[in-house]
């Protein structure tokens, strides 16, 4: 290809970053939806569904695209959530002396939150790199077990942290360094700061709102979708299909496996940040344990490995389903489990298999018949 064929700069920028502008506008629109008209309960479900989408789509990068099996996605979420919670909580104290929300939409507080999200994502990505490293040596189930073990270790360490400092004056006089816990120094808990221990990190400002969840969910979906068609995504998929063949074709499999972990962990960290500031009153290590990792794996498998639209639909469905089943009270989880088993037996490849929703063969044929066009093969 000749370098003259390159499109002009503005076109290239618009194509790459224009969608984010559109997402920004959509998110602004969603933010202004009147709460009274929709109902607070529905908005809460919407928020949880968006966070589930972020988590499921990012897990899809590891499990779906690359075919590695991670059972510790919630631990990246925990790492990201706690990091960003730490930044906003104590950052607010340092800046304003309290933990109220400062500024309205995109006000100063929101920028602090944005920064903390990025920080959470980066720290989670660093952990993702750490977990991705063993994948040089381990394959398949063993890797899954190591990610599981890693998740449990994160949970134990977080539970050994000490209580949150609620007092503004005490925070002000505590130098940043001594946030390393002095009273429990004999144990490993000494490494972890005042982030709540077993009772959880409470008192976080509730920065997560409709704007942020919408924007982040759309952005993550978009990035992961673009990733699939990029050179990285193709390498991931090559590894999934046949690792040895991929290696033979010149794909550096270890490098790309670790890369997949890092990318997924980054988004999981951001999802964790949203989750942390959504809960507002309680961020508990037990909430983000093994069970939650399993929930996300279920979403990815149910939606179809590697299918983003499948993950999105599964994430929305599995967030709404337990809420719909509230009417049957204690049979809720039984019905949920039964549905899970039935779907797995009846449709083992997940809802969409490896296709996106618009790539489904039968849907294409249907659309072709309705609009009188021949389906593309």
């Amino acid at each position: 290809m000749n370098s003259n064929d390159k499109p002009p700069m503005w076109k290239w920028l618009l194509k790459g970053y224009g969608p984010f502008l559109i997402f920004f506008l959509i998110a602004l629109g969603v933010y202004h939806v009147p709460v009274a008209a929709v109902g607070e309960y529905n908005l809460k479900i919407y928020t949880m569904a968006c966070i589930a989408i972020v988590m499921a789509v990012s897990l899809n990068v590891v499990n779906g695209y690359t075919g590695q099996f991670s059972l510790g996605h919630a631990s990246f979420m925990a790492v990201g959530g706690y990091t960003s919670g730490f930044v906003t909580y104590y950052g607010s104290f340092k800046l304003w002396g309290d933990t109220q929300i400062h500024g309205g939409l995109l006000g100063s507080g929101d920028w602090l939150f944005f920064g903390s999200m990025i920080a959470g994502g980066l720290v989670a990505a660093a952990f993702g790199w750490l977990v991705g490293l063993p994948s040089l040596r381990l394959r398949g189930d063993y890797l899954a077990i190591v990610t599981l073990g890693f998740g449990e270790i994160v949970r134990v360490i977080l539970q050994r942290s000490s209580r949150v400092i609620y007092d503004a004056e005490k925070v002000a006089e505590t130098p940043v360094i001594s946030f390393v816990n002095a009273e429990k120094k004999t144990e490993l808990g000494g490494l972890v700061t005042h982030i709540g221990g077993t009772i959880g990190f409470d008192g976080l400002p509730k920065y997560t709102n409709l704007f942020w969840v919408t924007f982040v969910a759309l952005a993550v979906i978009f990035v992961c979708y673009r990733l699939k068609a990029s050179i990285h995504g193709r390498a991931f998929i090559a590894i999934r299909e046949n690792e040895i063949a991929a290696e033979a074709m010149g794909v550096n499999t270890t490098k790309y496996k670790v890369r997949a972990f890092v990318i997924a962990a980054f988004f999981a960290g951001i999802g964790g940040a949203l989750f942390a500031h959504e809960q507002a009153t309680l961020l508990n290590p037990r909430e983000l344990g093994f069970q939650r990792s399993l929930d996300y794996v279920i979403m990815v498998v149910l939606g179809g490995m590697g299918s983003i639209s499948g993950s999105i639909l599964a994430a929305i469905g599995l967030t709404i389903l337990p809420e719909l089943l509230r009417s049957v009270e204690q049979f809720r989880m039984i019905v949920y489990a039964l549905l899970l088993i039935i779907v797995m037996i009846w449709r083992p490849q997940g809802l969409f298999g490896i296709y996106e929703i618009w790539e489904l063969p039968w849907l294409r044929r249907l659309v072709g018949r309705i609009f009188g066009r021949r389906p593309k093969q």
Binding site: F69, P134, R137, L138, R139, D141, Y142, A144, I145, V146, L148, G149, F150, E152, I153, R155, V156, I157, Q159, R160, T186, E187, L188, G189, I244, A245, R286, G289, F290, Q291, L294, V297, I298, V301, L302, M305, V328, E329, Q330, F331, M333, I334, Y336, A337, L338, L340, I341, M344, I345, P348, Q349
Partner: protein, 324 residues
């Protein structure tokens, strides 16, 4: 030692299922939980849970086989209904089905007495109370006696309770576990069915070509594994009398640790599971005693990661080279 043998018993079930079907049976810890709760329910039905009731010495001998048979029946049904249709599906699906089964069993066990109404009065079902959502306390079936005691220095500078005290209950647990393991060893290496099991775990297709009924062998694997888990559940119940409600995370955690034991020993390897279980039990208890009791989960999972990094197939596992 007692904890280690419990882990080893559960790990055996994991390792056997993994050996044949190559998937992590998440429902296994649920079977273990049901074993523990089943012992409690049996004891309750005999009226032994009330205080002041004389418990006959025969009680454990009565409960243990019953629970084992009940759970192996359950394991058989679960395999038949949930796993067999998925024999050819990708392994992740089986894994998720296993999670579904675990959730199903847990929440069914946790049902409380209530009335379910579908529609208005279209269908009304009286739901009996199974385990319920309250933690219960298991009666002590085994007298709390010390069999053997070593104290270091006599009297003065030894605080009470130090020294090594060997409880009757621990002896019984280790004894039962060892008996079961020896029985299993004989079953797997000494009988025709055992060699069928080993053949299926090596190569399912060749085994079926050689005239082995693969489905029946796999069913049998589940039956044996579930019976061992039930036995472990019973032993757990008599050792730690406090039983948490069925959906409590401690059950899953115990199951996970047993699974870690199976992996550390080399998954798919029966002797490895025993060694791994004992190892995990020792490390957990010594770590809790000498370092910090709060970090006991941490030791277990760190051992897992370090073992796998050093020996990617576990202690007794054979490293297989993937061919193109």
């Amino acid at each position: 030692m007692a904890v280690g043998s419990l882990y080893a018993l559960i790990a055996l079930g994991y390792t056997m299922v993994y050996g044949t079907l190559k998937f992590i049976n998440f429902a296994h810890s649920t079977v273990f939980m049901l074993g523990a709760w089943g012992s409690y329910l049996l004891a309750r039905s005999f009226g032994w849970t009330e205080s002041g009731v004389e418990i006959p010495l025969i009680a454990p001998l009565l409960i243990l086989p019953t629970v084992m048979v009940a759970c192996s029946l359950l394991g058989f049904i679960v395999e038949r209904v949930a796993y067999r249709p998925l024999r050819k599906a990708p392994r992740l699906n089986v894994l998720i089905t296993a999670i579904g089964v675990a959730l199903l069993l847990e929440n069914t066990a946790a049902l409380d007495a209530s009335t379910l109404k579908i529609g208005k009065d279209w269908l009304t079902v009286q739901v009996p109370r199974l385990v319920g959502t309250q933690p219960q306390s298991m009666p002590s079936l085994i007298p709390n006696e010390t069999v053997w005691q070593i104290t270091g220095e006599p009297a003065t500078d030894v605080a009470p309770g130090t020294g090594v005290a060997l409880q009757l209950i621990d002896v019984l647990i280790v004894g039962t576990a060892a008996t079961l393991m020896i029985a299993l060893q004989w079953l797997v290496y000494g009988t025709k069915l055992g060699s069928a099991m080993r053949a299926v775990s090596q190569d399912m297709r060749t085994a079926s070509l050689l005239g082995i009924n693969v489905d029946r062998t796999i069913s049998f694997t589940f039956v044996v594994g579930s019976a061992l888990a039930a036995a472990a559940g019973f032993l757990f119940a008599i050792k730690y009398s406090g039983l948490n409600q069925p959906s409590h995370p401690t059950w899953v955690l115990l199951g996970l640790k047993a699974f870690v034991a199976a992996v550390v020993g080399g998954i798919g390897n029966i002797r490895g599971a025993v060694v791994g279980g004992l190892l995990i039990g020792f490390i957990e208890l010594f770590g809790a005693a000498y370092l910090s009791a709060h970090l006991r989960d941490l030791y277990v999972f760190s051992i897992l990661i370090f073992t796998l990094l050093a020996m990617p197939a576990g202690i007794f596992g054979k490293a297989t080279i993937e061919k193109v």
